[in-house]
């Protein structure tokens, strides 16, 4: 349950980051880490007793992808009906560019599986990653010491990361190899950007190896174990190890399998910041601002419906069921304000205390505080509902100060005044005080969602703070709009119901008690969840 919720939240954060990336594309988007016209290669050669397997990955950045889509008329989408045929064609076409020989004899490669993904690159423009598993049989070649040569003639002159690794199955003894056995880029998903890990430019490799007789027999008897996840490369090591000795000890020895090459989007997106200093296209067109605002508003609305702000939704319900349309509106405004202020505050704190506090560590504690506040509030309401007005009298004060608007007046006699009859400006009971409203709104908005914080921090990083603040206000406003709508809906549904069962004991007493109990429970759950996630974080750190 916790996992599901967290992942839901995570996906929302990603959605917002993605949107932010698109919105800021004209400022300083992210490019393919290898440059926007690069074509990167990866060949993972695996020597088996009786076959050789090549995991071949081609990662095309934005410009070559555009050229391919232009040439073929396809859409950069794995669901495009033409894509499957295109990828099959590519498997054959790229195979033509590969030459693999064993002891001077060319080997016939066969494409076993094909994969394609289109991860978004700069400004959300598509990039393309193709993955092929090629296999060639080594049967029929019986020299004791064999020599394999590999040569890749695809996109030779194009800039890119060009990596080859050679590994061997346990029964194969690798005598020498011209390329490492470990993978530095995790199959082109995590390009190292540190200085001493410059892009390899390997397009050719050779390896000599022997197959032990026992191993060969074994290889024939026992089929290679299936793997459930395609291997992702080893963590980058500063010094690549070269296969010199037996490959049995090579940590990256990957079991052979029919498993297709698993493709992933690049893990890092290197901002190409050098050029942002150069000529600062700092002006945003009005339509982009408008579009950004609309997207932020929509995301905020969706965000209100997510677990993170469930408490606020309940608060909205509560206010709606016990207050007036004006209350609902006010709650929305308070939430917007406190949410915005919370993000700004946390942003400021994060910026100034970045060295000491990891923002991720801050969220859970804010969650705990917020959850406990809500639980207390719920408990207080429960007492109020259950005991009648005694507890409420503790809060009775400031009579008349806001009497026109109906705030600050407190009469908690539930039996005397059915809540559903609360009408703005009427003399009937107002059960929601300004103070309660404030507490609900502030606690509801207080936990700034990481998504909003990410937007703010990116804005700071991009020197576009004003626009970032504007987006967060829009985001909060979207959130508030949903809350207000919920509140309003309940107010008017309540009015509708009130016409029928004004005197119903259910509505007068038990429903409020139930809802107060629910709020208490929810507050506790929120606090608990926050504590748990803090624990999870602590365990990871």
């Amino acid at each position: 349950m916790r996992g599901r919720r967290l992942s839901a939240r995570f996906s929302a954060r990603r959605a917002l980051i993605l949107a932010a990336g698109i919105l800021w594309c004209s400022a300083a988007g992210f490019a393919h880490p290898m440059g926007n016209f690069s074509v990167s290669h990866y060949a993972g050669i695996r020597l088996e007793g009786n076959s050789v397997e090549i995991r071949y990955v081609i990662d095309e950045a934005e410009i070559p992808t555009f050229q391919e889509m232009q040439r073929t008329g396809l859409l950069a989408n794995a669901n495009d009906p033409g894509v499957a045929a295109y990828v099959r064609d590519q498997a054959e076409a790229l195979k033509e560019g590969l030459s693999v020989t064993l002891d001077g004899q060319p080997l016939a490669l066969e494409a076993v599986s094909t994969e394609v993904i289109f991860p978004p690159g700069a400004g959300g423009l598509p990039t393309m990653k193709l993955g092929f598993l090629y296999r060639a049989s080594l049967e029929g070649t019986r020299s004791s010491r064999r020599e394999l040569r590999y040569r890749d003639d695809n996109f030779r002159d194009r800039a890119g990361w060009k990596e080859i690794i050679v590994t061997a199955a346990p029964q194969v003894s690798l005598a020498s190899a011209s390329v490492p056995a470990t993978d530095r880029s995790a199959q082109l998903t995590n390009y190292p950007t540190d200085l001493l890990n410059s892009p390899p430019q390997e397009l050719e490799a050779e390896a000599t190896f022997t197959v032990s007789a026992a191993g060969e027999a074994q290889a024939k008897r026992v089929p290679a174990p299936p793997v459930h996840a395609a291997p992702i490369g080893q963590p980058q090591s500063a010094a690549a190890t070269y296969a010199g000795a037996s490959a049995a000890g090579a940590p990256s020895a990957q079991p052979a399998s029919q498993h297709p090459v698993a493709l992933q989007a690049n893990q890092q997106q290197t901002p190409r910041s050098a050029f942002t200093e150069l000529m600062r296209a700092r002006q945003l067109s009005f339509s982009i601002v408008l579009f950004a605002a609309a997207v932020a508003l929509g995301l905020g609305g969706l965000h209100a419906l997510e677990p993170g702000h469930g408490k606020t939704l309940v608060a909205a319900y509560l206010v709606g069921s016990r207050g007036t349309a004006l209350h609902a509106l006010l709650l929305g405004l308070i939430v917007t304000f406190s949410h915005t202020a919370g993000v700004f505050l946390l942003g400021a704190v994060t910026l100034y205390a970045q060295k000491y506090v990891v923002p991720e560590q801050l969220y859970p504690w804010l969650g705990v505080v917020s959850g406990l506040t809500i639980a207390l509030l719920g408990f207080y309401l429960l007492l109020q509902r259950y005991l009648g007005f005694e507890a409420g009298q503790l809060f009775a004060h400031s009579h008349g100060a806001y009497s026109h608007g109906g705030f600050g007046e407190l009469r908690t006699d539930g039996a005397a005044a059915p809540e559903a009859s609360a009408i703005p400006g009427s003399e009937s009971a107002k059960r929601v005080t300004f103070r309660q409203l404030l507490a609900l709104g502030v606690t509801g908005g207080m936990v700034p969602c990481p998504a909003a914080l990410v937007v703010l921090l990116s804005a700071v990083a991009l020197h576009r703070i004003g626009f970032g603040l504007f987006l967060i206000v829009m985001f909060s406003a979207g959130l508030a709009a949903v809350l207000i709508a919920t509140g309003m809906a309940v107010v008017y549904a309540g009015k509708f119901l009130a016409g029928r069962h004004t005197q119903g004991r259910l509505i007068q007493r038990w429903l409020p008690i139930a809802s107060a109990t629910a709020v208490t429970a929810l507050g506790l759950v929120i606090a608990l969840r926050a504590l748990l996630s803090a624990g999870v974080l602590a365990a990871r750190l």
């Binding site: 555009f66 002159d157 430019q201 050098a274 942002t276």
Partner: protein, 450 residues
Amino acid sequence: MIARLAITAMVFSLVASAGSLRAQTPAQQNSTDQAIQSLELHVKMYPQDFAGYDGLGAAFLQKGRETGDADYYERAKTALAKSLDLDSSDPAAYSAMTHMAVACMAEHRFRDALAWAQRALALGSGDPSPWAIAGDALADMGEYDAAAAAYANLENPLASEEEQRGLSFERESRLSSLELVAGHTQKALDLMRSAVHTAIQTRMSSENIAWSEYQLGEELFQAGDYAAAEKADRAALEEYPSYYRALGGLAKALAAQGRLDEAAEHYRKAIAVVPFPEYAAALGDVDSKLGRTEQAKKEYELVGFIGRLSEINQEIHNRDLAYFYADHDIKLDQALLLARKELEVRRDIYTWDVLAWALYKNNQLQEAADAIAHALQPGSADALIFFHAGMIQERLGNASMAKTFLQRALDLSPQFNVRHAESARAALAGLQALEAQSASAAPGEVSHAR
């Protein structure tokens, strides 16, 4: 005109000292890749060696030049910053500072480049090579006299003969560009030929030799000698196969000779290595001249796509994109915006020219005339600038000036541009027809006109 520096000598001395520790692949991995690998190992073993990081930075700069991949300039800057962290007060740090200036030039940060070059000179190492980059930065900022003065310092009578030859390469290749800007085409060609000779004689790296041959080809093209330009570019390709600059230059020279199919083929090859927007635009022009409008449309779309990416990544193609938009009458406001933006950092004659052309296309004729005057001011003999000047004057109603400029463009280089040479001829013919008309209307004028 990208900066040139004799970084290779340094790289190779370091390569030699670092030794080749890893088993070499059978591949013909190019020497720059080998240098990078060796230097990486070297700085791993001697992490406090500032010269090692400087050499690595220089090797990354060279790789960036060869591949056109800006990522290498980022890496170079990181390595050079590390070198300067380790030592920036020793006179020997001039080298890392000079390389830093080169990296800034590659990113079109001319002021920073000048500042780094000046810092390098201030260390008083005695090596005049930072003057080369200082001059390059000044030239791109349009300060041609100051650039010439800087290049004049590229001499060191105390240096070894080999170093002196290296310096003479640096000096001659750069002075050649300045002479070209000043309109002294023959002098420019002589200097460049001499530079090519020096590059070959001193066995510079393949890319350096190929660059000088390509540069000679560009100057020959500008002088209207397309066959000689073709020869120079082919020589460059022989030296350094699939060198994208030479492929582009060769394609241009072939197109000017009417060999459009071959031109298209070479533009495609250039794009397959580095898809610069100017190649895609030129290929589109060749394709449309061949009547392949579908194909041309695709190429123009590719230019537009690269333009969009440039907007995102703030890349360095502003001038090419501005020319493209203005030439094809699309996004004219964008063309003007890009040209103006470029002028903020780069004030050489070519930026004034693109600004003038974009202004002309946006019907801001008086401003266009002012801008083109800046482009013509040093006395440059550039057919494209003459063509632009002619078109602007025609629209302003100065028929005789327009005719002069158009005639000069066509005299200098009858096929200066696949797209524009015809327009220039048509405009000139129109002006002459108009003149003939008015001459027949007012016969008294004829004798005067002759």
